[in-house]
């Protein structure tokens, strides 16, 4: 009988530990030699990236395309602010707390959202996000429609505040990538990939589809809440329109679709590209946004698996391999 080896890495992915070190050493030490504007920029792009990563998990792996993830982003931001301002918790500690609370609130939300499927799930989630936005806009003790400021960080020195925020952002990126990578390589991750490829077939193999989908929904919500809390710690000012703006999801969709849906590398490439475009073209305002929309449409129509998908198909490369290949043993 023919024996097989299960291959889970490639030449490229073996460089991952080295690449991690090469990237992380300068990144961690940035506050010692870099400028504070760089740190702010990294924090901002980290928030976009985390959002996109979670959207990718939800849509690319869980098959749940949502246009309402801004609900959890804004909720995370407001929770951090309320815990920090009103309860006197250190805002940096309030960031993970906000992520946990957002995960908890996502459970009742899922009971509503899961009543819809496919395209209707997408827009139904958007309605739920609007309910969040309007609810916070009517809460006068957090500033109502015009929003409020994070006063809890007042007593912390600016340099300390900026570098701490930066390190937390960096930690969030590393934890998110590592967490999703390890999850997808685990047994449950395999089950998730099976669900994505064919829900009925996966169920017939004994996978509890609904439970796993709920888990993915909750994790994605928590991660998105984390991004929101982080963003508004850095931004110091929150308003319902900024926190619950559908643009957050729009940009995430752009990043994931361009980079490659259902791949860990996708949102990374997408976020870098988005950062680049944003830096050099955002002055063009409306034309810039029209361009982003057009790119997303063209990529969806003609290059459905995005940039990294094309690279993967052409060269068989993947930095974070989640596939399993069988190789006959000689």
């Amino acid at each position: 009988m023919q024996a097989y080896d299960v291959i889970r890495s490639n030449h490229f992915s073996k460089a991952l530990p080295w690449l991690t070190i090469v990237v992380l050493i300068p990144a961690i030490s940035l506050p010692m030699w870099g400028e504070s504007s760089w740190m702010r920029e990294v924090v901002e792009i980290a928030c976009y990236f985390l959002f996109a990563m979670m959207w990718n998990l939800l849509a690319g792996y869980g098959g749940m395309v949502s246009i309402g993830q801004q609900a959890f982003f804004g909720f995370g931001g407001y929770t951090m602010l309320i815990v920090g301002n009103e309860m006197g918790v250190n805002p940096f500690l309030a960031i993970p707390l906000a992520a946990i609370v957002t995960t908890l609130i996502a459970w009742p939300v899922s009971l509503l959202a899961f009543r819809l499927q496919g395209g209707y799930f997408a827009i139904g989630s958007w309605v739920i996000a609007e309910v969040f936005r309007l609810s916070f806009a009517n809460l006068h003790w957090v500033g109502g429609g015009s929003g409020t400021s994070l006063t809890a960080l007042r007593d912390i020195e600016k340099a300390t505040r900026e570098s701490t925020t930066y390190w937390i952002a960096l930690a969030c990126i590393v934890i998110a990538i590592a967490g999703i990578y390890l999850f997808l390589r685990s047994k449950r991750g395999l089950a998730l990939l099976a669900i994505r490829d064919n829900e009925n077939a996966a169920a017939s193999q004994g996978i509890d589809v609904q439970r796993l989908k709920l888990a993915v929904y909750l994790i994605a919500a928590g991660g998105t809440g984390l991004a929101g809390a982080l963003y508004f710690v850095s931004n110091l000012r929150i308003s319902p329109d900024a926190a619950f703006s559908v643009n957050w999801t729009a940009f995430a969709i752009f990043m994931v679709v361009i980079g490659g849906l259902g791949r860990i590398e996708g949102p990374i490439i997408g976020a870098l590209l988005f950062w680049f475009l944003n830096k050099f073209f955002s002055d063009y305002g409306t034309w810039y946004l029209i361009g982003l929309g057009l790119i997303a449409i063209l990529v969806t129509l003609f290059f459905r698996d995005g940039l990294w998908g094309a690279i993967h198909r052409r060269y068989g490369l993947s930095l974070f391999p989640t596939h399993r290949f069988l190789k006959p043993r000689n």
């Binding site: 827009i123 958007w126 309007l134």
Partner: protein, 285 residues
């Protein structure tokens, strides 16, 4: 109280026109058009431009625009949206969402962010009173058009060969194809008709109130809520859903202006919990 109910129902009539196109497109090809609201606003702005350029009355301007809207919808479906259909909802969502962003920014570039409206002349302000209740002619006319559109759409579906082909590709695309139908063409015809309704809705919205480039998403959500509340695939259901939504919002607005739309959303979520298939479901998702 009677006045609130009446105003709510009249508002719901307009919402029905927002929603019928969405209902049609979902019913025939399971396509969720996330740019529905933006196309309505686009229609409104084009109506304003048409009237300004030709000097026609708003009603005649709309009559010119509606056949063009059919062509635009037909072409969009035939050459773009058909390539996004399939088991996976993502491509059609991303493409229509991308269109939504393009339309909003295009309108911003061409028409600026200032709200504009379609001057309907004397009819916009005309009204009559029954005992102590005042009813505007334009909202009543809109309601009548919505009722007529629902009736025509349902009749088209039930009694014409075009409607039969719509139902056939909706029920079983492959079988319909074996019977000689070309789904790509049938889908394009459905979207063309949906776009006629969209142009009509846009014109009436611009007459009733002002429109601005960023208004689209909210209209999409109203349209979507009406479709879900009514039940997928039933045009009368969509009409009832829209009327319920208009009514709930109107009651909400009277209680507190800040909560009107919130109440509408909440009613939708309650329906979702109690009766997720909607009130009068026909098509299964």
């Amino acid at each position: 109280m009677t006045e609130i109910i009446l105003q709510g129902l009249l508002l719901g009539g307009l919402y029905a026109l927002f929603a019928l196109g969405q209902s049609l497109m979902f019913g025939v090809m399971r396509l969720t058009n996330t740019a529905q609201g933006d196309f309505i606003i686009l229609g409104g702005f084009f109506a304003i431009s048409t009237v300004a350029a030709t000097g026609l009355s708003p009603g005649l301007g709309l009559l010119v625009l509606i056949p063009l809207a059919f062509l635009a919808g037909y072409a969009l479906q035939r050459f773009v949206l058909n390539y996004t259909l399939g088991r996976d909802p993502l491509p059609s969502l991303v493409v229509t969402f991308g269109l939504s962003i393009i339309i909003q920014n295009f309108l911003l570039e061409v028409y600026s962010a200032d709200p504009k409206s379609l001057e309907a002349g004397s009819i916009a302000l005309a009204s009559f009173s029954v005992s102590d209740i005042t009813v505007g002619i334009l909202p009543l006319l809109t309601f009548g058009i919505a009722l007529l559109a629902t009736m025509l759409l349902q009749a088209l579906f039930s009694y014409t060969s075009l409607g039969r082909s719509f139902r056939a590709v909706s029920d079983d695309r492959e079988a319909a194809q074996l019977m000689g139908l070309k789904p790509a063409i049938v889908y394009a015809q459905a979207t063309g008709i949906a776009f006629m309704l969209i142009a009509l809705a846009g014109g009436l919205q611009a007459m009733r109130t002002t429109i601005a480039p960023a208004d689209g998403p909210l209209l999409l959500l109203f349209a979507f809520e009406a479709v879900i509340i009514g039940g997928m695939g039933s045009f009368w259901g969509t009409l009832v859903g829209a009327l319920l939504l208009g009514l709930t919002q109107q009651i909400g607005f009277r209680l507190d202006p800040g909560w009107g739309i919130w109440f509408g959303h909440l009613m939708f979520l309650v329906v979702l919990v109690i009766r997720p298939q909607g009130l009068f479901p026909k098509t299964r998702g």
